[in-house]
């Protein structure tokens, strides 16, 4: 029952400042890289301090999970600011031409993390084609399906680069899937994932969160992935009976801490959540992690949540006789 993370970590000041200066044109790529490497080192230090088994690079360079990729693929421009919630806005990508892969997008930061990881595996993480399409304005493709498949082909190149670099775990984030209404959306997403993971031997993971996740079943069981990582804590583990109903037999990424609240869960609370999952699925198939990326939390809270999570896993492992 390894511990892991979904991907993002609160941005360190050194990364924030460098990104700001880079956007203003005050510094070049080389200086930005140096700062991102520095920030990634701090992220990894926190992960190791918390005791996470499979880590990420903390996504210190990513302004937003859709914009980051849109800025680095062919066929996009970035629009004005669009609201996500409250007074929080992001610059939504606009598809204005054929989407194509240009050059590796995430590999550099993945390598930074690996260099500091003291041998722990680092997940390669990309935003999935369905979500990229859903969170962009489409001004070019006549049919959304064409856009999603072209995105999948472009992102497949990125996944190949990650695998070539040595990534043993590759996660595709598809949060937009949780909002799908139609059956054909699931079929489209499955086809797109098939493209993304074509010929890939690394562990294939999909992360989905926040929405009516029960509506993804049973179609999700047919997805070409080894592991499904789901937000569970925020929705009170109400998905567990659904997993049981459909005899879920893939590996499960089990979200046990809520990333939308500043309250740090107690160890007992997390232990309870893990034990609920154990009633549905064996420990050898569970990867314990937060509900989602930690980027919106203050760093101290994020770190505390991770520490609690690791402590809870250790406790359960001990009870199971595997610690």
């Amino acid at each position: 029952m390894p511990t892991t993370v979904v991907g993002s970590y609160p941005k360190f000041e050194v990364a924030k400042e460098a990104l700001r200066r880079y956007r203003k044109g005050d510094i070049g790529e080389e200086e930005l890289d140096k700062a991102i490497m520095e920030a990634t080192k701090l992220v990894v230090k926190d992960y190791l301090n918390a005791g996470i088994d499979i880590i990420s690079d903390g996504e210190q360079r990513r302004e937003d999970m859709a914009v980051f990729f849109a800025e680095r693929l062919e066929g996009f421009r970035i629009s004005g600011w669009v609201r996500v919630f409250d007074n929080i806005y992001f610059r939504k990508p606009v598809v204005i031409g054929e989407v194509k892969f240009k050059r590796p997008i995430t590999v550099k930061d993945w390598k930074y993390a690996l260099a500091f990881s003291k041998g722990r595996p680092v997940k390669g993480i990309i935003t999935g084609p369905y979500t990229m399409a859903d969170w962009s304005f489409n001004e070019y493709y006549k049919e959304r399906e064409e856009l999603v498949i072209d995105l999948a082909r472009a992102l497949h190149e990125e996944v190949k680069e990650l695998e070539r670099a040595g990534a043993k775990y590759i996660q595709v984030d598809e949060p937009a899937l949780s909002t799908h209404r139609e059956r054909q959306d699931m079929e489209l997403a499955r086809e797109a994932l098939r493209e993304v993971f074509k010929g890939i031997n690394a562990k294939r993971i999909i992360h989905i969160c926040y929405g009516k996740l029960e509506r993804l079943f049973p179609d999700l069981l047919e997805f070409p992935v080894d592991q499904v990582d789901l937000e569970m804590k925020n929705s009170g583990y109400r998905l567990l009976p659904v997993l049981k109903e459909y005899s879920f037999d893939k590996e499960l990424g089990l979200g046990v801490v809520d990333v939308h609240t500043l309250r740090v869960e107690s160890v007992e609370e997390v232990v309870r959540g893990i034990k609920m999952a154990l009633e549905v699925i064996g420990p050898e198939k569970i990867y314990v992690d937060p509900d989602c990326g930690l980027k919106l939390l203050p760093r101290e809270i994020a770190l505390s949540k991770l520490k609690v999570m690791v402590e809870a896993v250790r406790k359960v492992r001990k009870e199971l006789g595997s610690e």
Partner: protein
């Protein structure tokens, strides 16, 4: 048939107001200063809607964080919790957790809507969250049955409306996107019909129930008219059914509001194309008042784009009017 162009819901928050809200949150602006700024922006947004050529405008609802928070945070018995995705959008709302008996405390909308009516040169539509959608978006930890929550939310709205009715607006719209959701239970819809029927009785406005993000069951449409709703709003963009299918909607309709401009995509429609498509739909429509609108709130596109979208809408409406006349 009177054909009017109308805004459906809000207008994207202007950049200067976004900055003011951030400064307020950091303690660098007082509440009074923020409200003054919001009023100034409201007047500007009303003018923008008028310049775009709309016949029916809204206040822009610039201080609303989403459809329901503004109203829910004014109620006793509710705590606002974490964020959840709002229908199928990359947009989140704060989940209201109902912990105790709901009590309406004080008017929440009269100031904003009073200002809109005072400064507007066109007809004004007031927008409130519908009780059914609010109930479905809540986490109900208090009432044994959801129907009770729908009733209580209806009661709270009734108190709010008792103040709003002093405002001389033309339309009052209840937003009910939940009506397009398959998971909606019929027993809840039936309870809702009683509630909404009671709410609109005796109000000095033409009442609208706006639905969006999907298709409305045609049976619901008729039922809404039967309990006294004046106009029902449909989202012709998200509802992917063909025009022939859609015509079923219009049988027995009294007044309709049709969402024809895609407020969830920046791509600008051609007003002439819109009008040509609509001409086919119009054959099936015989209502006394028709509103043409964006298919949902304008929150999903950038501020700069909203004006252009409304211009397309007003030009398309003029074309349609010409065709119809």
């Amino acid at each position: 048939m009177e054909i009017l162009s109308a805004n459906l819901g809000n207008y994207p928050r202007p950049p200067d107001l976004r900055k003011a809200i951030d400064r307020f949150k950091r303690g660098k602006l007082t509440r009074g200063e923020l409200l003054r700024k919001a009023s100034e922006c409201t007047v500007r947004i009303i003018r923008l809607q008028e310049i775009a050529g709309l016949d029916v405008i809204t206040s822009g609802m610039l201080l609303w964080d989403d459809l329901i928070t503004k109203f829910m945070e004014g109620l006793e018995g509710v705590e606002l919790n974490g964020l959840l995705r709002f229908f199928d959008n990359n947009f989140y709302y704060r989940v209201p957790v109902v912990k105790g008996k709901l009590r309406w405390r004080h008017p929440l909308l009269t100031e904003e809507y009073g200002l809109a009516v005072k400064v507007a040169r066109k007809r004004v539509k007031l927008v409130v969250p519908g009780p059914l959608t609010m109930a479905y978006l809540c986490r109900n930890e208090y009432y044994p049955k959801l129907n009770e929550l729908i009733w209580e939310l209806g009661n709270a709205l009734k108190r709010e409306l008792s103040y709003l009715k002093e405002i001389r607006a033309d339309y009052l719209q209840f937003d009910e996107p939940i009506l397009t959701e398959e998971e909606l239970k019929i027993e809840h819809f039936e309870a809702y019909l009683e509630v909404i029927g009671g709410l609109v009785k005796g109000l000095p406005f033409k009442s609208i129930v706006a639905t969006y993000f999907g298709c409305l069951n045609p049976k619901f449409l008729q039922a809404l008219f039967d309990v006294g709703i004046y106009m029902v709003g449909l989202d012709l963009i998200s509802c992917k059914k063909g025009l022939a299918d859609l015509s079923r909607y219009f049988e027995g309709a009294k007044a309709l509001s049709l969402g024809i401009v895609d407020a969830r995509n920046t791509k600008l429609e051609d007003p002439k194309d819109l009008a040509t498509t609509l001409a086919k739909v119009l054959k099936h429509i015989d209502v006394k008042e028709l509103h043409l609108t964006p298919n949902t709130w304008l929150d999903y596109i950038p501020y700069e784009r909203a004006f252009l979208k409304l211009k397309v809408l007003s030009e398309a409406t003029k074309e349609v009017r010409r065709y119809y006349e």
